[in-house]
């Protein structure tokens, strides 16, 4: 570990092989004066030098607040930079996620990193290329149009000069335009970028840069960060968030060797010790008497879904309002109605939250693995009552997080404990902490109504989604913040609106997404946040099962019935067809003819969108009629995320999403007590997919050279649940309208049927 603080100038003088290490000092304007700074102390996006720097040997360091969270985003962004600059991919270094030297481009969330940050980095790189050509043209006094670039070397046909020779170690001192903020920022739109048909690096299955160290133990995970003088902390959690500690018996931990301090701030209690094991034991053994929890949540699924249904929505989003769905429902030849339930589910990071903080005076340095480093900067600054720019977040990759690290609770814990003991403190959560306290994907109730006309076409579609907003994402206070007394001033962000049947052309269509608050503004008993493709799995499960129910009632083939309503949605239709073709879909209505043996086979399909990406899956299942066990034999998936930056990176994401989607469909349900305390506290009580139960995967990637590149980090998680439920119906004629599809639910369904 290096402890030198590199200035931009020193950095530019060094070779490209240098990996910039984190420094141990709080941020200061002096240290980073080589960056173009705004008066706030943040980096100025309108300076080209804020985006990239070129060393004399031609290595390019590109600065981005987008981060690698295991999805390959950083490799893909590096491909875009290399492509636009015309330099070899191996000469790009991505310097990522340090709030003191990157521009806020929005969090790495929501399938938007490639879609939105991709154009930002492309345009900045294109602007740099243009400046480099201008420099060469001026030097040679030759027209810029005559110049070409190969592998970072500019040529006019006779003379040659490298980027390193042109600008290595020096600044561009060039202004570019940058308007808007975060992922909506438009960077240098005036600069003409390459024509995609000339791409040589974008579109290639380049191997990910982060993988070698991940196979050897050398990867620089947040869990491996150790700084001099670092102590170890653990937080002692209450039964539920709003419980008061009535008594802390410090004598219970007096004998723990190396114990430094028992910290209490409001309802927040932690321990700090010299070794990690001592901190763990102190947290386990500290006797805290907590007041009896007073929060009440619906205890059973029936009560929970009744609460969602019967509580007045705090807010209602209307993503689709076409024609007059209410009147059209009365005019149908056939009418349908069904409601569907989806449980709380969790992100389930394999490595629990971990952060290191060093709070000194009015400055703080935080090493952490958030999806939004600038968001962590805000929350830490708020809890410490510091200026945002006096908090520096240094990103180190965490465990794969699927939205969980949008909510960087660990950074707040470490900051409070570090301030309390005046030394750097590392906090890592236990498994019980992580399962119990990570914010969950909210439970959802979805109610669908439809009318079909005499020609078997949908005349009306009326869909209502009932869900909690995210109480622990966005600007609402995080866990430690709530415990030290910060109050939420808003009920939290929306759990999404897609996957509700909006892809289908129906003349009279209404889609409503109701936000049902928990006990706002009281601290919320069971925390919620964005879980991969937020809300979409439940809505797609409901809408794509509902349309399947209608098709089955009309004795129509499920693919054909969907196709009849996708005439105006070319990408959805092509995706659906690609999946059906790949699966060798045989045209017939569901259910399949009754199986004679104990094991019934079925197939089901579902199609949806996430952001602007389209996904269709076909599930092939076997249902054991005696035990109710569902085996997913195979998932076929067609995936259209526009132009693919890295097809193998996309495929890796699609595979992972499908398996996570199958896992969520078959096994996953967070259980909790009547106070909102989570009782699924380990991998036995919250099982996920294991190797022996793996489905086979067959994937078709649709590449669209005429489109912009879109996200692939979430979409394929969505349709497996609906496709599996439809396949179960196809196999045994049982409609499951509640997930996960456990043997118990399947057997209960078969008993009713």
């Amino acid at each position: 570990m290096k402890t030198t603080e590199l200035t931009r100038r020193q950095f530019l003088k060094t070779t490209g092989a240098l990996v910039v290490s984190f420094n141990l000092l709080p941020p200061s304007k002096k240290a980073w004066a080589q960056f173009a700074m705004l008066p706030s102390g943040d980096i100025d996006p309108t300076s080209l030098d804020s985006w990239l720097a070129i060393t004399p040997d031609g290595f390019v360091t590109f600065y981005t607040s987008k981060v690698e969270i295991g999805t390959g985003t950083i490799t893909a962004l590096a491909q875009i930079v290399a492509e636009e600059l015309d330099i070899p991919f191996s000469k790009i270094k991505m310097d990522s996620g340090d709030t003191s030297r990157t521009i806020e481009q929005g969090s790495t969330v929501g399938s938007r990193s490639i879609e939105r940050a991709g154009p930002q980095v492309r345009q900045a790189a294109a602007a740099a290329r243009q400046e480099l050509l201008k420099l060469a043209a001026a030097q040679w006094n030759s027209p810029i149009e005559k110049l070409t670039v190969v592998d970072g070397v500019v040529s006019d046909g006779a003379k040659k000069i490298s980027y390193g020779q042109l600008i290595g170690g020096k600044k561009f001192n060039t202004k570019i335009t940058a308007t808007g903020t975060g992922w909506d920022m438009k960077v240098a739109p005036e600069v003409k970028a390459k024509n995609p048909k000339d791409y040589k690096i974008v579109g290639q299955p380049i191997k990910r840069t982060d993988l070698p160290t991940k196979t050897t133990g050398e990867h620089d995970y947040i869990h491996n960060v150790r700084v001099p003088g670092m102590l170890h902390g653990r937080v002692v959690r209450p039964p539920v968030i709003n419980t008061e500690p009535e008594n802390i018996d410090e004598s219970s931990v007096r004998n723990i060797p190396g114990l430094v301090k028992v910290v209490r701030e409001g309802k927040f209690i932690g321990v700090v010790a010299k070794t990690e094991w001592s901190a763990i034991k102190a947290a386990q053994e500290l006797k805290v008497t907590w007041a009896k929890p007073t929060s009440k949540v619906p205890a059973t699924p029936d009560e929970l879904f009744a609460y969602l249904k019967n509580t007045k929505p705090a807010r209602t989003l209307k993503p689709v309002a076409k024609g007059d769905a209410a009147s059209a429902l009365a005019q149908g030849k056939m009418n349908y109605q069904a409601s569907y339930r989806w449980p709380f589910q969790m992100h389930g990071m394999i490595g629990p939250s971990c952060s290191v903080a060093d709070v000194k005076g009015d400055k703080a340095t935080i090493w952490s693995g958030p999806q939004g480093p600038f968001r962590t900067r805000s929350t830490v600054a708020r809890i410490l009552k510091f200026k945002e720019q006096d908090v520096r977040i240094i990103y180190h990759e965490a465990s794969g997080s699927y939205g969980r690290m949008s909510t960087d609770d660990g950074a707040e814990d470490a900051a409070l404990l570090s301030r309390a003991v005046g030394a750097p403190v590392r906090v890592q959560w236990s498994r019980e902490d992580e399962h119990g306290w990570e914010p969950k994907g909210p439970a959802q109730l979805d109610e669908a109504k439809a009318a079909v006309d005499g020609d078997g076409k949908l005349l009306a579609w009326d869909f209502a989604d009932f869900s909690q907003p995210w109480t622990a994402s966005g600007t609402t206070p995080l866990l430690a913040s709530l415990q030290v007394g910060l109050k939420p001033d808003n009920p939290g962000g929306s759990n999404g609106t897609q996957g509700a049947g909006e892809i289908y052309a129906v003349a009279n269509q209404s889609i409503l997404c109701h936000h049902i608050n928990w006990h706002f503004p009281e601290p919320i008993p069971l925390r919620t946040s964005n879980l991969r493709a937020p809300g979409d799995i439940a809505r797609c499960f409901a809408s794509e099962c509902f349309i399947d129910e209608i098709a089955a009632d009309l004795k129509a083939d499920p693919v054909e019935f969907r196709m009849n309503h996708l005439a105006s949605n070319r990408r959805a239709a092509e995706c659906l067809k690609a999946a059906a073709d790949k699966a060798g879909w045989q045209k017939r209505p569901s259910p399949a003819p009754a199986a004679t043996g104990n094991v019934a086979k079925g197939r089901g399909i579902a199609v949806t969108q996430r952001a602007n990406t389209y996904i269709a899956t076909v599930a092939e299942v076997e249902v054991n009629k005696t035990t109710g066990e569902v085996k997913v034999k195979k998932i076929v998936c067609a995936h259209d995320c526009g132009l693919m930056i890295n097809p193998d990176g996309v495929k890796n994401q699609v595979e992972g999403n499908l398996i996570q989607g199958v896992s969520r469909a078959l096994y996953e349900e967070v259980m909790f007590d009547t106070h909102g305390g989570v009782t699924s506290l380990d991998w036995k009580t919250y099982p996920i997919m294991r190797f022996p139960d793996l489905p086979e995967l067959d994937i078709v990637l649709i590449n669209r050279l005429d489109m912009i590149a879109l996200g692939a980090g979430e979409g394929a998680t969505i349709p497996p649940a609906a496709a599996i439920a439809n396949a179960i119906y196809d196999a045994v004629g049982v409609r499951l309208r509640e997930g996960p599809f456990t043997p118990k639910r399947v057997l209960a369904g078969m008993k009713k049927a």
Binding site: I69, G70, T71, G72, K207, R208, D210, L211, P212, T213, K214, T215, T216, G217, E218, H219, Y221, H223, N224, P257, T275, E276, W277, S278, G348, M349, I350, G351, P352, E397, A398, S399, G400, S401, Y402, Q428, S430, R431, D648, N652, Q653, E655, G656, N657, L658, I659, Q660, S663, D682, W683, K684, I688, M689, R690, F691, P692, L694, L697
Partner: protein
């Protein structure tokens, strides 16, 4: 505090620790071997897997007093980015990693498997990795990587 002599990656090293401290913390914090990861502390996920006398073992479940003079192997002994072990290389060749937090356990369980069964079939691989959880869903690639490492991919 008691002192323990550990045989790790072919070297004997002394660690001062409490008797009930799991081996994982000695490896990570005292010996700076960051390969094994803390995942659950319950022996349920496999992220902390090391090899003890040829068998995959959960280092989060093995107290210092129980290690004795048995040979402990961590992923660091297999190879590094300059000189990779064939299993590590196979994982890179198959791009069989996403976040990578589970990969230590996947590779160490694979090492123990291939040491006793050099050409495992799919079922045997799945059984050997059944106790290793991957949340990113990289399973299919991991299976291919194990097949590649065992010379079973064309």
């Amino acid at each position: 505090m008691p002192k323990y002599s550990l045989r790790v990656n072919g070297q004997t090293q002394t660690v001062e620790a409490e008797a009930d401290m799991p081996l994982l913390y000695a490896l990570r914090n005292d010996l700076q071997l960051n390969g094994p990861k803390f995942g659950c502390g319950l022996g349920q996920c496999g992220a902390c897997t090391v090899i003890v006398e040829g068998n995959p073992a959960r280092s989060c479940q093995m107290p210092m007093k129980a290690v004795g003079n048995r040979n402990v192997t961590t992923i660091e002994a297999l190879g590094n980015t300059n000189k990779m072990h064939k299993i590590q290389q196979a994982f890179v060749d198959e791009q069989a990693v996403q976040c990578g937090y589970c990969i230590n356990g996947m590779i160490m369980s694979t090492k123990a498997l291939l040491d006793t069964n050099p050409k495992p079939n799919d079922t045997q691989i799945k059984e050997a990795l059944a106790g290793n959880l991957c949340r990113c869903g990289t399973h299919i690639r991991i299976l291919r990587a194990v097949k590649r490492a065992s010379g079973q991919l064309a």
